[in-house]
């Protein structure tokens, strides 16, 4: 077993060696510009791009013509949200999203508010999920666009986006879904799922960084205002020379994901459940977000009375991430965990462990042992643990906040 062990698959995944192999010839040998119509170099590249588009479309059961390449999910979300809001702004100016979206959605909404749109940011329930009744209640006659993520990046919960898409369809509201954490991990069928716009990215499904895709529904057709202007590539939705090798990598990653998703998920779920069973034997351990409505890869756990960053330092043989303020430059604890109503202490005490295709049972066992051992050690160091053991209710203590 090689250390450190990578358990941060929601941040990014390694490129599958099979994907990398497929990409290499498109850097050195078939390097043509897919937009070059006058020679074989261009034709070869274009053929590869279209083959990849077919694989990505197949992963979500869409028409290849509904796939537009982007530089990644941040661009995809920007194009979908700004593009639709700006195109449909004469119909209304109200937008709906929710508080635990990724910053690529939240900051885009803030920008649209600066441009004169009005936005509703829905609260989530304690399990991290959007309440459908609250969603319906937020709809106004002038609502033109809603954006709700499929799977939360920090806590892995699966939002009821299928139901929300139906509601939006009935109300004539454009619905965008950020499916970055769901792509290649959940079954997505655009013939059944009524979302108009869907963002996915390659580097969460064992493809390369720097390439993503936006699904744009054709039936009924959704219109967007382009955000990047230039040569009119991608039917005018997104100008810029296509990165053939990246696209080829994304295509191959999508093809493998479709093939292997079911077996991968089953294996990963068993490992995740084993890990949770193991660490939850300790006292004062809390799972953040619903366990039932959750992708199999994610565990987000708060170890009460232990601060997240010091825990991450202690378990440096495993690569995980934390909702603690101390790992962020802003010194604010995770806004996602706070949105669940978790108190700041538990938000500071959280770590996110995300498993993936290359995670082994041996690694998970090692991680569980290491976490248990280090949590115990840090609790011995923690005045809060000592007070808890003395039976003091920490909520009654007058703290000098700083």
């Amino acid at each position: 077993m090689k250390l450190p062990i990578y358990l941060d698959y929601s941040a990014t995944t390694p490129v599958d060696p099979r994907v990398a192999q497929k990409m290499i010839p498109y850097l050195t040998e078939f390097f043509g510009n897919p937009a070059s119509r006058s020679h074989a170099f261009g034709w070869k590249a274009e053929q590869a791009v279209e083959e990849a588009r077919g694989h990505v479309a197949a992963l979500i059961n869409a028409d290849p013509k509904e796939i537009v390449w982007t530089s990644g999910a941040t661009e995809g979300n920007n194009l979908a949200i700004k593009g639709a809001a700006q195109f449909y702004k004469t119909k209304g100016k109200h937008l709906i999203t929710q508080r635990t979206e990724h910053k690529a959605v939240l900051d885009t909404f803030r920008e649209l508010e600066r441009q004169g749109f009005e936005a509703t940011y829905l609260e989530v329930q304690e399990n991290g999920l959007v309440d459908l009744e609250k969603f319906k209640a937020a709809i106004r006659p002038d609502t033109i666009l809603a954006s709700i993520m499929m799977v939360n990046n920090e806590i892995g919960v699966i939002q009821p986006v299928w139901e929300i898409a139906e509601i939006c369809k009935q109300k004539g509201i454009v619905f965008h879904c950020d499916a970055v954490q769901g792509g290649g991990r959940l079954e997505i069928d655009m013939q059944k799922f009524k979302a108009d716009l869907l963002t996915i990215t390659a580097h969460k499904i064992y493809g390369p960084k720097g390439i993503g895709a936006l699904y744009i529904r054709r039936k009924p057709r959704v219109r967007l205002e382009a955000q990047i202007h230039g040569g009119g590539h991608e039917r005018g939705f997104r100008s810029g020379t296509l990165a053939t090798h990246q696209i080829v990598g994304f295509g191959e990653a999508a093809r493998l994901a479709k093939q292997e998703m079911a077996t991968d998920n089953e294996r990963i779920r068993a490992l995740r459940d084993k890990l949770w069973k193991n660490v939850s034997q300790m006292e004062e351990v809390y799972l953040n977000g619903s366990l039932e409505k959750r992708i199999p890869h994610n565990l987000n756990v708060s170890f009460n009375f232990v601060e997240g960053e010091s825990l991450i330092m202690a378990v440096k043989d495993i690569a995980v991430s934390s909702g603690s303020a101390c790992t962020s430059s802003s010194l604010e604890p995770s806004y996602v965990l706070r949105a669940l109503g978790r108190n700041d202490e538990l938000a500071h005490s959280s770590i996110r462990i995300t498993l993936g295709r290359f995670t082994t049972e041996e690694e998970v066992n090692y991680a569980a042992q290491l976490i248990k051992q280090k949590v115990a050690k840090l609790r011995e160091l923690s005045p809060l643990w000592e007070m808890y053991k003395e039976g003091i209710d920490l909520n009654t203590v007058q703290w000098a906040a700083h």
């Binding site: 101390c326 202490e345 005045p383 703290w399 906040a401 700083h402």
Partner: protein, 127 residues
């Protein structure tokens, strides 16, 4: 976060971890910070008959540099008089541990913890 070797040393081998009996007349206890802010330090000093700090203990909930800052000050206060201990400045702690700017508040907390422990002892002994 890239920490200095000194922070990592104190974090991995913290000095003087533990607790003294709070009610003991020779003990001063300082507890600063708040769980909601992500760090709480408890620093205790044991004062000898000569008015010098004989020993110190700490427990800290917080990030690596908070733990290192408190571990360091338990070493520094030993052998000092109460007034000498109270002159330890956060800048000295930050410099010794080469704390990055975003972690300066940890050294401020350690300075406050010393002052709080000294205050507590003085209040107890009415000196």
């Amino acid at each position: 976060m890239a920490y200095s070797d000194k922070v990592i040393d104190h974090y991995e081998n913290p000095r003087n971890v533990g607790s003294f009996e709070k009610s003991d007349q020779s003990i001063g206890t300082g507890m600063v910070g708040a769980p909601a802010c992500g760090d709480v330090m408890k620093l205790q000093i044991k004062v000898g008959a000569d008015g010098r700090i004989e020993d110190a203990r700490f427990k800290t909930y917080g990030c690596g540099s908070a733990i290192a800052s408190s571990s360091l000050v338990t070493e520094w206060v030993k052998g000092k008089t109460l007034d000498e201990a109270a002159t330890i400045k956060n800048t000295q702690i930050a410099q010794e541990l080469s704390l990055p700017p975003v972690k300066i508040h940890c050294s401020i907390l350690a300075e406050d913890a010393i002052k709080a422990a000294v205050e507590d002892y003085k209040k107890k002994r009415k000196v």
